[in-house]
Symmetry: C2
Subunit: 296 residues, 2 copies
C-alpha cells in the first residue's frame, strides 16, 4: 500500500461526511454554524478519524460503522483547537494556515462554535447508533471511551495542566503525564473506538489500545520536535513558540537527539503490538512510521 494515497483517500471520505453531517443552515443559528464549519472544514490532516478507520479495518477489514465515530473525533479535536486558541488560553492568531476562529469571527462566537462541535460529536454518534441498533452497545462504548478521553480526566485536564506548567521547570514524568492527558488520550481513544466498532475481540481491542497509547506519545514527541525544527510555512502556524512560552516539552527535557531516539523506540514497540493483525494492520503500521518523518 501507498500511505500517501491511503491518507488522501481517507481524508476525502472524512471531509465529505463531515460536511454532510454539519450542513450550512439558514436561521437564528446561522452564524455559529458558519463558525463551526469554518474551523471544521478548513483543512487538517484528519489524523484521529483516519486512525479510527484504520483500527476498524485492522479487525474487520472494513470501517463503515466507524465512519460517524471518526467524524465525531474530528469535531472534538476541532473544538479543542478553537478553545485552546482563545485569548484567555494560548491566544493564537493562526491555525491551519488561516485566522483562528475568534479572529475570523469573535470570541463569543468561537466559544459557542467549540461548544457546538463538542455537542454535535455526541449527537452524531447517537444518531448513527439509533440507525444501526445491532451495534448500539459498540457505539455506546465508543461514546464512553471518547467522552472519558476528552474530559477532565483526559484532554480538558491535560490542557489545564499544560497552562499551569507554563514557565515552570518540569520533569520527564510531568511532561508525559500532561501529554498523555492532553493529546495522547484522544488519539488512543480514536484507535480503541475504531477497534470496538470493527467488532474486535477483547484481546484485539487491548492490543490496539496499547498501540494507540504509544502512538499518542510518539505524536507528541514529534510535535514538540517540529516546534523546534519545523518550518512555520509548512506547519501553518508559528514555530518556536514552546520555548518562548517555556512549555513542558520532550526536547526541553531530553534534548533533541534524546527525544528523537525515544520516539524511534516507541515506534518499534507499536509495531510489535500490531503483529497479530498481519496485513490488515498495514495502514496503522505505516502511520506509526510516518510520525518519525512527518514535516507538519
Amino acid at each position: 500500500m501507498d500511505l500517501k494515497d491511503y491518507l488522501s483517500q481517507r481524508k476525502i471520505l472524512v471531509d465529505q461526511k463531515l460536511s454532510e453531517l454539519l450542513p450550512a443552515v439558514n436561521g437564528p443559528h446561522t452564524r455559529v454554524v458558519e463558525a463551526m464549519r469554518y474551523s471544521l472544514l478548513g483543512g487538517g490532516k484528519r489524523l484521529r478519524p483516519i486512525l479510527c478507520l484504520a483500527a476498524a479495518e485492522a479487525v474487520a477489514g472494513e470501517s463503515a460503522a466507524a465512519l460517524p465515530v471518526a467524524c465525531a473525533l474530528e469535531m472534538i479535536h476541532t473544538y479543542s483547537l478553537i478553545h485552546d486558541d482563545l485569548p484567555a488560553m494560548d491566544d493564537d492568531d493562526l491555525r491551519r494556515g488561516r485566522p483562528t476562529c475568534h479572529k475570523q469571527f469573535d470570541e463569543a462566537t468561537a466559544i459557542l462554535a467549540g461548544d457546538g462541535l463538542l455537542t454535535a460529536a455526541f449527537a452524531v454518534m447517537a444518531e448513527a447508533a439509533l440507525r444501526n441498533l445491532a451495534n448500539v452497545v459498540a457505539y455506546m462504548e465508543a461514546v464512553q471511551t471518547i467522552a472519558g478521553a476528552s474530559g477532565h480526566q483526559g484532554m480538558v485536564g491535560g490542557q489545564m495542566a499544560d497552562l499551569l506548567a507554563e514557565g515552570r521547570p518540569s520533569s520527564l514524568e510531568q511532561v508525559e503525564a500532561i501529554h498523555r492527558m492532553k493529546t495522547g488520550a484522544l488519539l488512543t481513544a480514536a484507535v480503541r473506538a475504531g477497534a470496538v466498532l470493527g467488532g474486535g475481540s477483547p484481546a484485539q481491542v487491548e492490543a490496539l489500545t496499547r498501540y494507540g497509547e504509544k502512538f499518542g506519545l510518539i505524536f507528541q514527541i514529534t510535535d514538540d520536535l517540529l516546534d523546534v525544527e519545523g518550518e512555520s510555512a509548512e506547519m501553518g502556524k508559528p514555530t518556536g513558540m514552546d520555548a518562548v512560552r517555556q512549555k513542558a516539552t520532550y526536547p526541553a527535557v531530553l534534548g533533541v537527539a534524546g527525544a528523537r531516539e525515544q520516539a524511534r523506540q516507541l515506534v518499534e514497540g507499536a509495531l510489535l503490538d500490531l503483529q497479530p493483525f498481519g496485513a490488515a494492520a498495514e495502514p496503522l503500521r505505516q502511520l506509526a512510521r510516518y510520525l518519525l518523518v512527518r514535516r507538519q
Copy 2:
C-alpha cells in the same frame, strides 16, 4: 403531595449523586475539577433533573434509571451558565449568589470547567448505559435527545441568536424562536429523556414532550417577568439587566400583564397534556403551576 417537600427530597437525591459522579481529585487536573465542582455543587434549583425524574415517575412510577441522565442534564445546564457568564458573552460577576466561575478562578479555567462538565455529562450517561445494558437503547435515545437540544440546533444556537438580538427590536415570533432554542429545548429534552428512560410508550413520550415544550415557554416567560419584577437578593443575581441590555423578552413585546396571561394559558394547556397520566403526573402538574408563582 407537597411540592416543597418533593422538590427538596429530589434536590438532595440529585446533589448527592452529582457529588458522587464528580469527586474531588488530586493530580494535574485538580484545578479544573475544583472549578467544575464549585459551579456544579454550588446551589441551583435542579429543575432539569427534577423534571426528568418526574417524567420517568409519570410513566413508570419510579425513576432509578433516569437519575444518571438527570445528573447529566444539570452538568450541561451548569456548563452553559459558566460559558454564558464569560466576559466575551454576558460578562456576569454573580451566579447563584456567588462569584461566577471565571471570577472565582480565571477565564481559562472557566472555559475548561464548562468544557469538562459538558463532556462529563455524556460520559455519565454512557457509563450508566453500559452498567444497564437492558436499557441501552433508551439511554442512547436520551443521549440523542439531550445532545440535539444542547447543540447548535438548540441551546448553543439560541445563545448565539440571543447575543445577536441584543439592542435590536424583536417581534414575538423572534423572541419565541430564540427562547425555544436557548432555554426551552433543554427543558423539553429533560422531560422527554425521563419519559424514554421510564419506558414510556411512543404516545406517552409524545404527550410528555408536548408538556415539556409548554413548560419551556412558561419558564422563559416567568424568567423574563422575574427580571422585571423580582428581587435581586432572592434571585442571587442582579435584576433589570434585560432592559439595560435591550434583550429580546416577553414583557418587552407583550407587556407585563400580557406576558403573565400568556403564561397562564400555557399552564392550562400543559395540564391537559398530563391528563392521561392521572395521579402519577401530580409532580409535573404542580411544577407547571409553580412557575406562575415562583420568586426565583
